[in-house]
Amino acid sequence: MAINLTVELFGNSQVLTGQKLIDLQFLKPQVDICDVIQALGQRFPMLDGKVLDFGTKSLLSSYALNLNGVGFKDAAQIELADGDSILILPSQAGG
């Protein structure tokens, strides 16, 4: 069973990779944020230390997660399902 996800990049993560949308496919029944970060790390090593921490498989505090453009989530709160879209966006809200 495959799980297909979309990752949408905003802010410097988009500038660094030159990508707005990234499609990811996982050939396993359950996927969590760590899997997504690992997959991103393999494709876009330039994100390490600037957007993601590949060592801990987590986002840096300067970025936040949003699931499907609806709610802001901590990584632990997110349960991913086939077709989900994960937004990685700057966490500083001001301006």
């Binding site: 905003f10 802010g11 410097n12 809200a93």
Partner: protein, 601 residues
């Protein structure tokens, strides 16, 4: 007293006289500096019921105890007066070298009273105050005025000035300083224009000793290091323009005068697109390590650059339904050079363009319209006519609140302002903590005096109760009041692990005081209560804390998702807010509350 000059410079431009007054220590222990000290001085110097554009309304420039400390982001100052837009307190912040020069001439604050008969340029330096003829500067842009004065006065002078909009008493005129930075909101530029002051220049290098220079030196290094870390990443890379694509994706970017019916794609003007496709350079305020300022070279205009941040990008683009990059950049540049607040200028035009679409412009006004080729051209011409107060611009220069009252025909319901100050680019139908903050803010629809969006963008936001939002806005306002009085830039806020603890320690190391974090937090509460008390004195009533009708009547519909807020929901939150403040259900501050805060003896 360490950290302060202990002096206020009082300038009367009617009599062309000036004097120094002592600044008492108990005043700054209560109100600190910046926005807080400005509120205190306004309360003292503004007569009850003063007409904002009359000689009796004081124009106040305030430095702060952190100015001169060389701590990152602290070269800031506040400008305070009774706002010609709201009729209530108007305070606005700006940054850079002039803050150092205000303090460098020996002043903690400068209070300007009266009104000159002829146009003047004030010069403050070691020789005192001079009242120079400014007739040769009339009609000049803000950058040309600064450049001209730099040539006339010589090196070392820092200037704050108004452009043609301030001269023409456009109610949302700004004050420009240090190469185009703006004290933008609440119309202080019009107050300066009403006094016929084209510019004020400061030159001074007086050093104010701090109580513990060694401790401050360590703090300086620590903050510099932290300010270059994750806590400020967005501001350092793309600047606040990064908000646009995020807000559009989350369906919280207000477009088309908050109708949000635009089919336009605003990705073309996102911070990411600008950064990738245009020539962008970074600029810093004095003593700032972050460098949030992004200067974009305007296409097809040689090497002309515009300083662009999210609110200007929003107000010159999506708010008026425009997605053409060149139009947005040129319009923003025009507002800066004319000395107009981009949010109020854009919002007033967006409201007027909707009136045109609805066909409710009085016939006599249609004759005043400029000729135009398309929507972009119309917008540019409206901005120009406002700054010049020519044709229809002479009417629109009064702002959307006043002009919608004049037109009537239901246009008041989509004039997007609170208390007369037009709304910034945050969508209150989706961001309910922000909705409350916009409604109750003492200076009108303001995003900067509460930072309430922080709560709406958190992972817990779905579960917030109305009562929680009331308390959060109180906390956000008090926190912001302390930041705006010390003064820190808001963009450094996440650098602190514990803001009140660290700021109290820094303030003590500068002043030699022994203020504790709770006392510092109470300063924030005191400042907000004083601002509110000023508004009550000037005629505030419960009906002023509200949002435009459109916010209640037109829900946002995006597919299956509907975002809305009802009047009763807002009313409930306002009640919780008043309760959390310790005010009556009508929003009045009880006498005992004023006494407990030391505002009333």
């Amino acid at each position: 007293m360490f950290g302060y000059n202990n002096k206020i410079l009082i300038i009367d431009v009617s009599s062309k006289s000036w004097k120094w007054e002592d600044l008492e220590e108990d005043v700054v222990r209560d109100f600190i500096g910046g926005s807080g000290l400005g509120a205190y001085l306004l309360y003292q110097h503004c007569p009850i019921g003063a007409e904002p554009l009359s000689h009796s309304n004081p124009l106040i420039f305030c430095a702060s105890p952190l100015v001169g400390s060389k701590l990152t982001t602290t070269s800031k100052f506040a400008v305070v007066s009774k706002s010609p837009q709201t009729g209530f307190i108007g305070d606005s912040l700006s940054s850079s070298s002039i803050a150092l020069s205000i303090k460098g001439v020996g002043a903690d604050a400068v209070v300007i009273t009266g009104a000159s008969r002829e146009w003047i340029s004030l010069v403050v330096d070691k020789e005192g105050v001079r009242f120079n003829d400014a007739s040769n500067l009339l009609g000049t842009t803000t950058s040309a005025t600064e450049k001209s004065l730099m040539g006339t006065l010589g090196k070392g002078y820092d200037t704050a000035c108004i452009g043609p909009a301030g001269e023409n008493l456009v109610r949302f005129a700004s004050i420009s300083n240090d190469g185009g930075r703006q004290a933008g909101r609440t119309g202080n530029g019009a107050v300066m224009g009403s006094k016929k002051i084209k510019a004020i220049s400061f030159k001074g290098h007086k050093k104010i000793p701090s109580f513990d220079e060694n401790a401050l030196a360590k703090t300086r290094i620590d903050l510099n290091y932290k300010s270059l870390g994750e806590a400020t990443e967005k501001y350092r890379t793309l600047g606040t323009m990064a908000n646009l694509s995020v807000f559009e994706r989350l369906k919280i970017l207000p477009t088309g005068n908050f109708r949000n019916q635009s089919n336009k794609d605003f990705q073309n003007i996102s911070g990411e697109a600008m950064h990738t496709e245009e020539k962008v350079s970074t600029s810093h305020c004095a003593n700032c390590t972050i460098g949030c300022e992004k200067l974009i070279t305007i296409p097809n205009s040689g090497s002309e650059k515009v300083r662009l941040e999210y609110q200007s990008l929003f107000a010159m683009g999506p708010l008026v339904g425009i997605s053409d990059r060149e139009t947005i950049l040129k319009s923003s540049k025009f507002c800066d050079e004319s000395g107009m607040d981009t949010i109020s200028a854009g919002s007033t035009c967006a409201w007027f363009m909707e009136c045109m679409q609805k066909g409710i412009i009085p016939e006599s006004w249609l004759k005043l319209l400029p000729r135009y080729d398309n929507e972009e051209d119309l917008f540019a011409q409206l901005l120009r006519s406002i700054a010049e107060r020519s044709g229809i611009g002479d009417i629109l220069a009064e702002g959307s609140a006043r002009v919608s009252e004049a037109i009537g025909l239901g246009s008041q319901e989509f004039a997007m302002h609170v208390k007369g100050l037009e709304m910034p680019g945050y969508e209150p139908r989706s961001l309910h903590t922000m909705a409350l903050a916009l409604a109750v803010s003492t200076r009108g629809a303001c995003h900067n005096r509460s930072s309430a969006y922080e709560y709406d963008f958190s992972s817990d936001s779905d579960g917030y109760k109305q009562s929680s939002r009331g308390r959060m806005v109180v906390e956000g306002e008090d926190y912001s009041a302390v930041m705006d009085s010390l003064i820190w830039c808001k963009f450094v806020r996440r650098v602190f692990d514990n803001f009140y603890d660290e700021s109290a320690e820094i303030l003590n190391n500068i002043t030699g005081w022994d203020i504790d974090p709770k006392q510092l937090a109470q300063c924030g509460e005191r400042i907000n209560n004083l601002k509110k008390q000023f508004n009550i004195r000037e005629g505030w009533n419960r009906s002023h804390d509200n949002l435009p009708k459109r916010i209640f009547s037109d829900p946002l519909i995006n597919g299956e998702k509907v975002s809305s807020i009802s009047e009763s929901e807002l009313d409930n939150m306002i009640e919780y807010y008043y309760d959390a403040r310790g005010w009556t259900s009508d929003g009045i501050i009880p006498s005992e509350k004023l006494v407990s805060l030391g505002i009333k003896s």
